[in-house]
Amino acid sequence: MTYATLTDADRSAMLEAIGLSSIDELFRDIPSGVRFDRPLALDDPLTEQEIVGRLEELAARNVHAGEELSFVGAGVYDHYVPAVVDYILQRGEFLTAYTPYQPELSQGVLQAIFEYQTVICELTGMDVSNASGYDGTTVAADACYIAKHATGRSKIVLAETISPQVRQVVRTYAPGFGMEVVDVPHRDGVVDPEEFRAAAEGAACAIFQQPNFFGCLEAAPQLAAAANDAGALSVAHVDPISLGVLEAPGAYGCAIAIGEGQSAGNPLSFGGPHYGFIAAREEYTRRMPGRIVGETTDVHGKRGYVLTLQTREQHIRREKATSNITTNQTLLALGGLIYLCWLGPEGLQEVGETCMALAEHAKERLELPLLFPEQTTFKEFGVRVGRQAQEAIKDARAQGVNPGYPLGRDYPGMDDAILVAVTERRTVDDVELLAEALAE
């Protein structure tokens, strides 16, 4: 009973105060037919040091990013997370608080979320951001739900160059929304604005990713324009780490910007928890899902922050809510805030340019055919290894290098292609090792 807080003395005193003589009586309202009458089939309780022992043993059976030279990305990236982020997020006043329903006791989290919303708006060039979505996939579904109500239309247009997981999640949600999904195929690694325009006709929204899943830069402004012209909401799925170098979606006319926040301030953590961000133009403010923090004043005129525009939300609007989200990813989003403040505008540009420079260098050094030689890429690019990618990866890993993600998993005809991600944590020397590992 490692975690029991009450002592037996407490228990009897409390039962007496309640007027009962046994713990079992507490449960008398539970019909005997549904009572559980055997002990749970779980192991004996472990002490703290035993718990640590067991978890260390499991952790040791994973190969983490510090143990092999990894160039795996494909949606989750090994960027450096500074020590200040971990420290602040571990402080109990943030870590162990919940949604700031009571603002007088929650100005810390409320102000931090307001700062986060501001940073997301600055990165994306949008007017409003929520306090976070679950991840980079579910915010895409959120965008579709907004579009459905904003346009009254039901078609979702997805560029095939969007992360496969994002597309899968949109497909899972669409039927419930009463929406259908149309894909726009890639042409040589990017989508063709004209095809995109045609598909966007009569659509509720048209979504593309910049940089796209292949690491290539889309003609984002044209894609946004194509969607806008068709009266569809133009939605850009962007990598926050790229937004010191690449233009903000708001600047080229997107209605909504979404993305996976992990690359900005979260550890890999085997895929979660991370945070998804969603930001939009002012006109969609009242259609936004989830928590939004607003500035106001207290009875003495002092500046303060509260959860606002709650008439959008499930606890008030119930079945008419803009979303069912309640628990979100606040702590991870705050990690993103602290990270982006740590970088500042110069640092954000530096990290983007460093990744780009290293990736470009890798492209040259590998001396392998590029998957899409015509395209400009950001921190990720595809190469053809001339044999089954899975095998090439296995062989490279045997030398301590994990060269990347096998694109054949998601795209037909790419069984020999590897998606290589190069972050600022890799060095010029690391690129040499990668080249060697992929050489034979």
Binding site: A4, M14, L55, R61, E68, L105, F114, G271, N328
Partner: protein, 500 residues
């Protein structure tokens, strides 16, 4: 206090990621290159640490004190869980790491699935949903897939939800494309069976129910309810937000539920993080397993792997296999209680009933029964007699250094005060809380002004929420602070060598 942007001073730096000197930055096509840098704050690390440290001191967590926020299960989060979640083997593990490089992570998830199956009394578990709400939506998607498979998609249009339900239930029903039917609550706080019978027919896809309910009451007719739905071929969904009341005591599967979501951040101690993250695994009966999200974490001999080959699966509801870091914490937590997990729920229920017993004379109790892990009082009399609302009581509790309970929920109770102490509070803390609540009841009569002006001595007094919603200032207005909007100095873009 200042916003982080108001500490900004042009040129100040914390982090640096210099471009490797031997490399040059490739050119970005002009129309794609960022023109105006984002106005991120510029400040040295010392200012960053002071700013965020100060923010934390303006926030209340479980580590600060008692946090009886009903329906949220704000229990103490053992620090050891943070230690293990930070092990590099977990924290720095890439989700695309191939299976033989992730056996420890897969085994942990598989173990956790089995623990949750045992605790809920169901057959199969998917850990994928990001939180309870998404678990609900996923569960409803399973219903759709199940009925579609049986050719009943057209027929099964409605989902029944109790009027005491959390807002996420009706919201999820709509998002899943179902019609909502609300069912009433009877005088003892159970579902009104007559009302229910009138609403269930062969157009019914299923029921969503929280049991114990948001009133903190166990539905005494749960067996009959289950029969009513199963008789028409409908499914029962269990909102697991209140699972902390019944672990090892009564299992949703045994109650007749077909689909259950579990809030790992409630019952299994994932810290709430100021709003998240959470985890919303779902457990189902055998006949629903084929529809679960992909990938499934399966065991083959002593190896574990990710099975994507599930033709009937609804697909994916979020990226990868779910919030893994949350799994690590909840797994560690369950290992700590182990086979004695029942004691956790017993103590949670004991703590709640102790508070109830000591408070029910001072506040009114809409449903006078033993409660489970939480209970709902009403300030309706205080309001009638002294004009003191549930909100006033909540704000005044802050003056006694307690976080207020959930208020104005569930909706069927006027001036509701929804109190959930959890099992991790001492009798001493509960007694102090009782003293405060009783004092407040007296103050309502003797010095109502003190309550109406509460809280006192906090960073801010009561805030104007109407103004907030009307002005909708949801990001920092740099425009209003021209001194700070100076374009940050960004290093000139390096041109790539042409050729070479």
């Amino acid at each position: 206090m200042k916003l982080v942007f108001e500490h900004s001073s042009p040129g100040a730096r914390a982090g640096r990621i210099p471009i490797p000197p031997e490399l040059s930055v490739p050119a970005v096509p002009d129309e794609l290159r960022r023109r105006r840098p984002p106005r991120l704050p510029e400040l040295p690390e010392v200012e960053l640490v002071r700013h965020f440290t100060k923010l934390t001191t303006r926030n209340f967590g479980i580590d600060t004190g008692f946090y009886p926020l009903g329906s949220c299960t704000m229990k103490y989060n053992p620090r050891v869980n943070e230690r293990v979640a930070a092990l590099p083997g977990f924290r720095d593990l890439h989700p695309h790491q191939d299976e033989d490089g992730a056996q420890g992570a897969l085994e942990l998830m598989h173990d956790l699935q089995e623990m949750l199956a045992e605790i809920t009394g169901l057959y199969a578990v998917s850990l994928q949903p990001a939180a309870g709400s998404q678990g609900e939506l996923t569960g409803l998607m399973l219903m759709r897939a199940y009925f579609a498979d049986r050719g009943e998609s057209e027929q099964r249009r409605t989902v029944i939800v109790a009027d005491t339900a959390h807002g996420t239930n009706p919201a999820s029903v709509t998002m899943a494309g179902y019609e909502l039917r609300k069912v009433a609550t009877d005088a003892r706080g159970n579902i009104d069976l007559d009302d229910l019978r009138g609403k269930v027919d062969d157009s019914t896809a299923g029921l969503m129910l929280t049991n114990p309910s948001t009133l903190g009451l166990f539905d005494e007719h749960i067996e009959e309810i289950s029969r009513i739905f199963h008789d028409v071929g409908a499914l029962l969904y269990y909102d697991g937000a209140n699972l902390n009341a019944v672990c090892g005591i009564s299992r949703p599967g045994d109650m007749g539920f077909d689909i259950v979501h579990i809030n790992l951040h409630k019952t299994f101690s994932q810290p709430h993080g100021g709003g998240g993250p959470g985890g919303g695994p779902i457990a189902v009966r055998e006949h629903l397993e084929p529809y679960l999200p992909v990938p499934a974490v399966v065991r083959e001999g002593d190896r574990f792997h990710l099975d994507y080959d599930r033709p009937k699966s609804i697909g994916k509801v979020r990226a990868f296999t779910g919030p893994f870091g949350v799994f690590v914490r909840s797994y560690a937590f369950i290992l700590g209680w182990g086979a004695e997990l029942r004691t956790m729920s017993e103590d949670a229920v004991l703590n709640a009933n102790y508070l109830l017993a000591r408070l029910k004379d001072a506040y009114d109790l809409p449903f006078d029964r033993l409660c489970m892990h939480e209970f709902v009082l009403s300030a309706r009399n205080l309001k009638k007699e002294h004009g003191i609302t549930a909100l006033d009581v909540a704000k005044r509790l802050m003056d006694y250094d307690f976080h207020p309970p959930t208020i104005y929920f569930p909706l069927i109770v006027p001036e509701a005060l929804m109190i959930e102490p959890t099992e991790t509070e001492t009798k001493g803390t509960l007694d102090a809380f009782v003293d405060a609540m009783l004092a407040i009841a007296r103050e309502a009569a003797d010095e109502p002004e003190t309550l109406k002006t509460a809280p006192h001595g906090r960073p801010v007094a009561r805030l104007d929420e109407v103004k907030a919603a009307k002005r909708a200032i949801v990001r920092y207005r740099f425009e209003d602070h021209p001194d700070l909007t100076a374009e940050p100095t960004a290093p000139a873009q390096v041109e790539a060598p042409k050729g070479a």
